[in-house]
Structure formats: structure tokens, C-alpha cells
Amino acid sequence: MIRSKVKAAILAGAFVATGLTLVAGTPASAQDCGYGGCPPITTTTTSGGGSTTIPDDIPTITVVRGETIDVDGQGCAPGAEVTVTWDDGTVLGTFTADENGNFSTKITIPSNATLGVHLVTATCGDVEQFINVNVLAETVNNVDDGTLARTGSNNTGPLIGIGAAAVVLGGAFLYGARRPRQA
């Protein structure tokens, strides 16, 4: 039934790494939008005879080999064991969720990881949560693919608001600092 799919997706929680919020994967193709929002579109991949549903819109972070990153997530059972694995099956760490089902820890990118995008999976019971990790070489120099780098801000809105506030306050200071005209 469709509605049970939605329920499953909502309960699945999220996995966060270095400030990025990730979507959860569940063994269901949650497609329906309710008044509470739309669950992510998912695709199913099959390996080793098993079927795993992976969200299409997993965020990607960029790291270098051997780098340590902070990860945290939620939606596990309280005290559940959380296993974080590399996409070749290497276990990056095993942790315990807290009494609210949240977990937070550090993982280290394997020093022998191949360059490119890898899928990192956090598993606790039936809940799987994902993050894409784009592994770069240790140093990147003189990269030029012919396009201009994007130079800008992704939080322009708040800055505009703060700027407007600053203008008003600055104007008030100027006004207040004027010497009143003598009669």
C-alpha cells in the first residue's frame, strides 16, 4: 500500500556528514507526496542477490584519502549498533546510537581508496542511510577544465537581510551623530 511506503520513509531518519544533511534509504520506493512533504525519489540496485533501495538525491561531499570526517545521523533504535561501511564492504567503524536513536562519530576515508565517488552506508537494524564521498587526490594543482569556477555565496539571502539592517543602523548612527541645528 502506498501510504505505508511514506510512513517508512519518514521514520527512516537522516545521516549527516560535515554539515550536509543526507536522505535515508529504505526498502521501499517512497513516491507519494503528502501534505507533510515529498519523500525522495528512490532507485533500487541489486547486488549479491539482495535488493537495496538507494535514494537518488544523496548529497556528495569531497574529501581526500586518509581524511577524517564527522558523521552523524538519526532514526536508529535507542542503543542500536551502527555500522558504517565503504562501498567495497570495508567497515569504517562500529558505533552505538544514543538513547534517542542518534549517532555521531568520526570516520576515516581509507588511504587506499580509489579516486572518484564512493557510497558510504550507515546501517542500524533495518535502517540504512547513505552519503556519497568524492575522493580526490591529496593535492590538486593547476586544474583547468575550461570553465570558470563558481565564486559566490550559497547564503546570499540572509546576507542581504543583514546588509539592509546594517544600512538602517548606520543611517541611524549618522543621523544621531549630527549636531542639532541651533535655533
Binding site: M1, I2, G34, G36, G37, T156, G161, V168, G171, F173
Partner: protein, 654 residues
């Protein structure tokens, strides 16, 4: 007896600005907010549903399909839409409401200020921005809660009157009526404000008449709502509408207008900036409130407004506080408590007081500081007085241009218009797919919106009213019980089964499938031998049910004609026992008094040869509406006779 709520008896220094400047600035800000939408096209964003023709909602007759926040306001918009089109009337409405709200808040701060408190034009702008184009108003514009946009326009003008409901009953009646036009959203806010004011100003002998003056106008939305509840409309899961106050920053941000139940639709006042802004507004409003109550007392309208503001904040918090939340959910899960759902809307009562009060507080704080440190007094006063405007701008400006993209204009796909024309030529009941109340629409930049198909197509369209808050079972929030049958058919469709036979039995002639997210679930339509594909274009598919047996089906299976000149009136020549392809509901009467039966699948069945069928509650509702409006006209005349001007809710004394 105090004739009217009093304002600052000390005449303020004459401003060099013309009196109409708040209106001019308000219109300008309204135009900026609607901004990208001015270029033409419709609007689609969550509950903001604008189609080329906005229909008068069936709710004004007490007919479904669902409980409507649109009644009675959308009856006015519907009439306007007939003249200039849905998009134009909606955009004009938004600009006018925001401008009126801005001017109202700019005026409110002036009349609310105690004697000797000079708020100045800067303070008026601050109050206007925070109230009319601040996070609360922008969020409600962005999600299309038109009834609350109406509240933004009206509340600052009527607040003084609602805070002294016993002073002049005709004025109180008009103020309450103005709020009631906003439907359940506006009406509950108006009633709450007046109820708090009556409690703050104890005079038990005089409570009954003011209470009647406030409650009688609410009939314009209470009666249709009661009829729909009686007919079987429902509400599911109030839990999803809790005020959101996530994290440490979430709580103080509520004071600045944050907390909308869907955080992805909250505009402004988010994160650290929102938290700091909320704290500053809260502290300044507290200072202003102390000044108001100390100077004017609780029994002044300003004092009552203070109580109203605090009550609004408490109600908004009610669904967010861990322990209180449970009780609030129990209350709002009940049909009688349903109008109190989504408690963040009560933030309006907080902000309409907090915006001017913060300005008054800033002036008071500036004076307090300079009294203790006279050096650079002018600088300190100017800087502190500018803080409310700076804070208001910090949380509002980012959302001004098109409300974070939510007012980007939308063009309906050409295929939709072709479907509408085809169905208009050969009318019949339509099932709209995907079977979602809030589909995600590719032609609206992927925004999620209330299913526009029924309004766009017009006529008898069965669509889902399941908000999908709960899994399993029947969660259709509509009177039209045919939808429960379609629930079942959709499950069969998704399983790959043919459903044309059952659709014909349900009296359905057309199936429209918008090719949007989730459309792939209905692949079985194309393979169903009982469905004729009439139109297949990239945007939409239209199928005709081959065995459709007419808009009225006789006991022998013969087709009969049905006409419906207005929603609560049906004419047919079908014989006794015929079933009409019309959503059934208790209250339909055949001839003078014979009740019309409702079939198990939710249609009307005649018990006697055709003729005229009518929905008797519609008569009661329309007569009540006329009576309420007539009383309003009488109050208007009484008010004008007494005060000489219509729009003069507050007059300086002395």
C-alpha cells in the same frame, strides 16, 4: 462610557510626510513581494492554487468536497475572477492586502503608543514591515493561506475595536465580520482576541451582547463547516500541524514569526539570524508592553491588546511544548477543535501587538538609556529607535522578491487545456490522477501544490483529499464517498489490474492522468481494454470509459439527462430508482420534502420520478449569510451616523 478606544491624547509633532505615505510604501512593498508573479501566469505553491478561472467554492452552499478554509473569502475572489481572471484578481488581492496591512500596522503603532512616546516614521515603517511583509506574512503568502493574508490586511485596523468589544456594538460587529470573512483562519483569531479582551475588562453584565456581536458574524463560516461535518467531511491527524521550534534557535525565532509546521516553507526568521531577531523583538516588545500597561493599564484597549498578544504567543507555542502538545493534539483532533489546528497561525495575534510594541519599547529603552547617560543622547536614541526596523529588515528582505521563488508564475501545460475542452464538449464525471491531494508538479518548477486539476477542469471531478499523514485505512477528508471507492481502484491500478468496469459502475466517464511524479504507477490504464485513449500528449493522458452509462442511470441501465444550473440544484427526468453521477450527501431533497438516498458508493439515488432536487442546508446558509450581511449594513449605517466616518475605529479623545 468610553465612546471609542483612545489613542495618544498628546498630539504628536506634525509630520512633514503626507498622510498617504504608508499606503504608497505598502503598495510598493506589495508589488515587490508579488514581484516575479507580475509578469503573468498563474501561481502554484502548496495551498496557493490559482487557476485561470477561480470557481466560487461549493463550500458556500455547504457542499463539499471537503471542509474549506476558503469560505466565504473565495466567493468574493471567484466573482472577481469571473471579471478579470484568476491570476489577476489573486495578485491584486495579495498586493492590496499587504499594502493595507502595512498601512494598518503603521497606524496601529501610532495610536497604541502611550502619551509622550514619539514613534516617528521610522517606527511606523518598522511595525509595518515586521507585520505585513515580515516572516509570518511572507510564509503565509508563499503557501497560499489566503485567509491569513486577509487577516494581515484587516487585523491591525480592527484590533482596537476587538480589544474594547463592549464600547460600541455595531463597530464590534463590523470588526468581527471583517475577520470572519477570512473564514476559520480569520474568525478564530477575531473571536480569540475579543474573548481575551472581555476577560481582561471584567464587566459580567455586559458580556452577553458583545459576545453576540462577535459570534454572530462567525456564522458565515461556522454554518458551512457544521453542514460539511454533518455530511461526513473529516479531518485527520492534527499532529502534523504542530508549531515547529527545532533546536535552540527555533524557540526564540518563533517570536519573529518562525514556526510554520512545514519548515521547508518557512520564509525568513530562520537559523541564527531568526533567533537573534526573535530575542530582540521579544525583549523590546516586553519593554513596550511594560510601558503600555504601566501608563494605560490593563483595561485600556492597549492593555487588552497586550493580553491578546501574549495569548497568541501561548497558543502558538501550545502545539510545540512537549507536555502541552499532547493535550492540544487531543483537542484539535476533535471536530469542534479542528479550527484551532495549526496553532502557529495564532502568532498573528502576537505579532500584531509585538510589532508596534517593540517600536514603543525601543523608544522607551532609548529614553531610559539617555536618562542615565545624557552624553550623546541624540545618537543613542536614534540608534535604539532604528533597531526594530533593522531587525525587521534582516528577517524579511531575503524573502521579499517572490517569496523565495514561490510566486514564480506558472503556465498550465497545453495538454491540460485540450483535456478541459474535450470534457466541456462531452461532460461527465472525471477521476483525476495521480491520486494525490498535493502532487509535485514539474511545470511549477517541481513545487508541491494542492491538486489544481479539479479547479482547472471544472465540473464533477473526483480527486484525492487524503493528506497522507496516516498509513492505511480511509483517510479521505471529503464528503464525496466516491473517493473511497476510487482509493480501492487506485490500489488495483497500481497492481496492474484493469478497472474500467468498476469506473463505469461508479458513473465515471473520464480518467485524466497528469504525467507528473507518480504517473508511472498507472501504466495499467493504457492496457485496459475498457478505456479509450482520447488524448495522449507529453503532459497528460485522457481516457474515456467505454461503458459509461450516462449522468443518470435508470434501473434498467438506460441513460438519462441531468442538469445542474447551480451546485445546490439538480434537474433530471430520470425514473424512480435511478442513480445520479453526483456526490451524495445527506440534505438532498427531491420535490418539496422527500429525502434523496445515498448509494453505498456515494451517489444520489432517486426514490420517485425525477424533477427537481435541492440541497436544503444551502438555503439555510444563504439566508443566514444574507442576514449577517444585512446586519452588517445596518451596523455600518449606525456607525456612520454616530461617528461621521466609516473608517475611524480609533478617535483621539480630548
Amino acid at each position: 462610557m468610553s465612546v471609542l478606544p483612545t489613542s495618544n491624547p498628546t498630539a504628536p509633532a506634525r509630520s512633514r510626510l503626507p498622510g498617504w505615505w504608508p499606503w504608497a510604501l505598502g503598495v510598493m512593498l506589495g508589488l515587490v513581494v508579488v514581484g516575479p508573479g507580475l509578469s503573468g501566469g498563474s501561481l502554484l505553491s502548496l495551498d496557493l492554487l490559482v487557476t485561470p478561472d477561480i470557481p466560487v467554492p461549493n463550500g458556500v452552499y455547504g457542499l463539499g468536497p471537503a471542509l474549506s478554509q476558503r469560505v466565504p473569502l473565495f466567493a468574493i475572489l471567484g466573482v472577481g475572477s469571473a471579471a478579470v481572471g484568476g491570476p489577476v484578481i489573486t495578485k491584486v488581492f495579495l498586493v492590496v492586502c499587504l499594502a493595507t496591512g502595512f498601512a494598518g500596522a503603521a497606524r496601529l503603532v501610532r495610536v497604541m503608543a502611550p502619551a509622550g512616546t514619539e514613534v516617528g516614521a521610522l517606527g511606523q515603517v518598522a511595525a509595518g514591515v515586521l507585520w505585513a511583509v515580515g516572516p509570518y506574512a511572507l510564509t503565509r503568502v508563499g503557501v497560499g493561506h489566503i485567509n491569513l493574508v486577509w487577516v494581515v490586511a484587516v487585523l491591525p485596523w480592527v484590533l482596537p475595536r476587538l480589544c474594547r468589544p463592549a464600547d460600541h456594538l455595531p463597530s464590534t460587529y463590523l470588526a468581527a465580520l471583517a475577520m470572519a470573512i477570512g473564514g476559520p483562519g480569520g474568525g478564530t483569531l477575531g473571536v480569540t482576541a475579543a474573548a481575551v479582551a472581555l476577560l481582561v475588562q471584567p464587566a459580567p453584565r455586559r458580556h452577553l451582547r458583545p459576545a453576540a456581536a462577535v459570534l454572530i458574524p462567525q456564522l458565515v463560516w461556522v454554518l458551512p463547516t457544521a453542514v460539511l461535518l454533518w455530511a461526513g467531511a473529516g479531518v485527520t491527524g492534527a499532529m502534523g500541524f504542530s508549531t515547529r521550534a527545532d533546536g535552540v534557535a527555533g524557540w526564540p525565532a518563533l517570536l519573529a514569526g518562525n514556526g510554520f509546521w512545514r519548515q521547508d516553507h518557512q520564509v525568513g526568521a530562520t537559523g541564527f539570524v531568526g533567533a537573534v531577531a526573535g530575542l530582540i523583538i521579544g525583549l523590546l516588545a516586553l519593554a513596550g508592553g511594560i510601558r503600555i500597561v504601566r501608563t494605560l493599564g490593563w483595561r485600556s484597549w492597549q492593555g487588552a491588546a497586550t493580553a491578546v498578544g501574549v495569548t497568541g504567543l501561548v497558543l502558538a507555542l501550545a502545539s510545540a511544548l512537549p507536555l502541552v502538545r499532547d493535550g492540544y493534539e487531543v483537542l484539535t483532533d476533535l471536530p469542534i477543535g479542528a479550527p484551532l489546528r495549526e496553532s502557529q497561525r495564532f502568532t498573528a495575534l502576537w505579532l500584531v501587538w509585538a510589532a508596534p510594541s517593540a517600536v514603543i519599547g525601543a523608544v522607551s529603552v532609548g529614553r531610559w538609556l539617555t536618562d542615565r547617560a545624557p552624553a550623546r543622547a541624540r545618537l543613542v536614541r536614534a540608534a535604539v529607535a532604528a533597531v526594530p526596523l533593522a531587525v525587521a529588515l534582516a528577517v524579511s528582505v531575503p524573502g521579499w522578491w517572490g517569496v523565495d521563488g514561490r510566486l514564480e508564475p506558472v503556465e498550465y501545460p497545453a495538454g491540460w487545456a485540450a483535456v478541459r475542452e474535450t470534457i466541456a464538449d462531452r461532460p461527465g464525471t472525471v477521476v483525476a490522477l495521480p491520486w494525490l491531494e498535493y502532487p509535485q508538479l514539474s511545470f511549477a518548477d517541481g513545487r508541491q501544490a494542492f491538486n489544481p486539476m479539479p479547479d482547472f477542469l471544472g465540473g464533477d471531478v473526483i480527486s484525492s483529499y487524503d493528506p497522507l499523514f496516516e498509513a492505511g485505512g480511509d483517510h479521505q477528508e471529503q464528503v464525496d464517498r466516491r473517493s473511497v471507492e476510487v482509493d480501492r481502484l487506485v490500489a488495483e491500478l497500481e497492481a496492474g489490474q484493469a478497472v474500467s468496469r468498476q469506473l463505469a459502475d461508479l458513473g465515471v466517464r473520464w480518467v485524466v492522468l497528469a504525467r507528473e511524479r507518480g504517473a508511472e504507477d498507472y501504466a495499467a490504464l493504457a492496457a485496459d481494454p475498457g478505456l479509450d485513449p482520447v488524448l495522449t500528449v507529453p503532459d497528460v493522458e485522457l481516457y474515456e470509459v467505454r461503458d459509461w452509462s450516462g449522468r443518470a442511470t435508470g434501473p434498467d441501465g438506460t441513460a438519462h439527462d441531468v442538469s445542474r444550473p447551480i451546485p445546490p440544484l439538480i434537474r433530471t427526468d430520470a425514473p424512480d430508482g435511478s442513480v445520479l453521477s453526483v456526490a451524495g450527501a445527506p440534505g438532498w431533497v427531491q420535490g418539496w420534502a422527500r429525502p434523496v438516498a445515498v448509494t453505498g458508493d456515494g451517489r444520489l439515488r432517486l426514490e420517485g420520478t425525477g424533477g427537481t432536487l435541492w440541497f436544503w442546508p444551502a438555503i439555510v446558509i444563504l439566508v443566514t449569510d444574507l442576514a449577517v450581511a444585512g446586519l452588517g449594513i445596518r451596523c455600518l449605517a449606525s456607525r456612520r451616523g454616530r461617528f461621521g466616518r466609516i473608517l475611524a475605529p480609533v478617535r483621539p479623545r480630548g
